[in-house]
């Protein structure tokens, strides 16, 4: 009983220590933002790696999610004789919730892990110390371009996810299940609002982009310089991001809806 209490206290202490360290790291990155935007070539390179290479996985996932939403939605809505509202259901679900959240989780799995292991391996093989020796700031040269590229990529990917998901829902709803195309779009247009629905989704994806990129680069940068350390940093990058994104999503939704 006593040891359990101690474990709990230790875990709680570690949580706050990590949270504090991540916040400090984030503030340090924020200071560097203007300087890093001047060296946009580096960000552009990372945008290619993190964004353009994620297009395929995001696109395919989005179409499947949209299709399954249409199938499930049709099944439920047909019980109330409201299948004309299928477009509303698919669009609202994607734009407000699933688009930003799933994109962030997929991004963490596809790109966050690669960021964490890359930076962790640079640390383990003393490349970061080498840069410091040559008076090159590794935060500016390595961490910032990756962080900024992630922050830019996630909102764009989330928008692509939502748009393709709606397209997938359209294929199933209108093409396969025979919902009227006119009411699919018209009901969507009446119900979805730019400020409350679309913009809230975009703000969410910006917040998730910051979260996912920050955790990935933090874990990589602070990984113990061993094989085990790098592998743990990679795992932590996706696990912590997934939990953090879901928790932050709840808080943002509660603020918007409640």
């Amino acid at each position: 009983m006593i040891s359990m209490w101690q474990d709990l206290r230790l875990a709680g202490r570690e949580f706050f220590e990590t949270l504090g360290a991540v916040t400090r790291f984030f503030l340090r990155l924020l200071v560097e933002v203007p300087a890093s935007l001047l060296r946009f070539g580096l960000v552009w390179q990372q945008l290619y790696r993190l964004g353009a290479h994620s297009l395929l996985i995001i696109g395919i996932s989005a179409i499947f999610v949209g299709m399954v939403l249409a199938l499930q939605g049709y099944h439920i809505l047909s019980q109330f004789g409201a299948v004309d509202s299928l477009g509303v259901m698919v669009a609202m679900t994607l734009v407000r919730e699933l688009g930003p959240v799933l994109t962030a989780v997929l991004f963490a799995g596809r790109s966050g892990t690669s960021l964490a292991s890359e930076i962790g391996l640079m640390r383990a093989t003393d490349q970061l110390s080498g840069m410091e020796m040559m008076a090159v700031d590794p935060i500016q040269r390595v961490v910032m371009p990756r962080f900024l590229a992630g922050v830019i990529a996630v909102p764009l990917l989330a928008a692509i996810f939502s748009a393709l998901g709606i397209f997938g829902g359209y294929i199933i709803g209108v093409g396969l299940l025979g919902v009227d195309a006119g009411s699919f779009w018209a009901q969507m247009n009446t119900a979805v609002d730019v400020r409350t629905d679309v913009m809230s989704g975009i703000w969410k994806s910006v917040a998730f982009g910051i979260t996912a990129s920050l955790i990935a680069v933090y874990e990589g940068y602070n990984a113990p310089p061993t094989a085990e350390g790098v592998s743990r940093a990679t795992t932590r990058a996706i696990v912590i991001t997934a939990v953090a994104v879901l928790a932050i999503n709840f808080v943002i939704t509660a603020m918007i809806v409640g």
Binding site: W44, Y48, G51, L55, V95, R195
Partner: protein
């Protein structure tokens, strides 16, 4: 990683698709409302009972949407509801004595405001008050009346 044209192309394509998707979401899913959109003028109407009317509900005449409800507030002096309607300036020739009534789309659907045209040659303008209003039908009251009438 070296800069090359294929990389620039792929990144450019990615950014383009992302912006295109945002544009699609803003314009296509929502029918381009909210961002100012078209200019409107505001009139108010007072109701004894607004039922389940909410902000953003449509304002229609002859079934066509002319605008929407932008604000609902409570008048502490007269103890009634003050509803602000934003009507598209394209429809600037609605008679000033039009009647505003709260209706329900379908049996259990959303509530909206229906305007019925009056005969006044003066049109409604910014800041006007709609005098003739009809409150929401409260289904519970209807059922109550029906039950009592059965008792006679």
């Amino acid at each position: 990683m070296h800069h090359n044209k294929a990389m620039d192309f792929a990144t450019g394509l990615f950014v383009f698709l992302g912006i295109l998707a945002i544009f699609f979401l803003v314009t296509q899913t929502s029918g381009m409302r909210g961002f100012g959109g078209e200019p409107t003028y505001e009139v108010t109407a007072r109701f004894d009972d607004i039922g389940g009317l909410r902000a953003r509900a449509p304002v229609t005449m002859a079934g066509v949407r002319l605008g929407r409800v932008t604000d609902i507030s409570f008048d502490t002096d007269r103890l009634d509801a003050v509803v602000t309607l934003s009507i598209n300036t394209r429809y600037d020739n609605l008679p000033a004595d039009s009647i505003a009534s709260i209706r329900t789309s379908g049996l259990l659907g959303e509530q909206f405001i229906a305007l019925d045209p009056g005969g006044d040659p003066e049109p409604l303008a910014q800041g006007d008050v709609i005098i003739h209003t009809q409150s929401a039908l409260v289904i519970e009251n209807l059922i109550g009346q029906f039950l009592y009438s059965q008792g006679d």
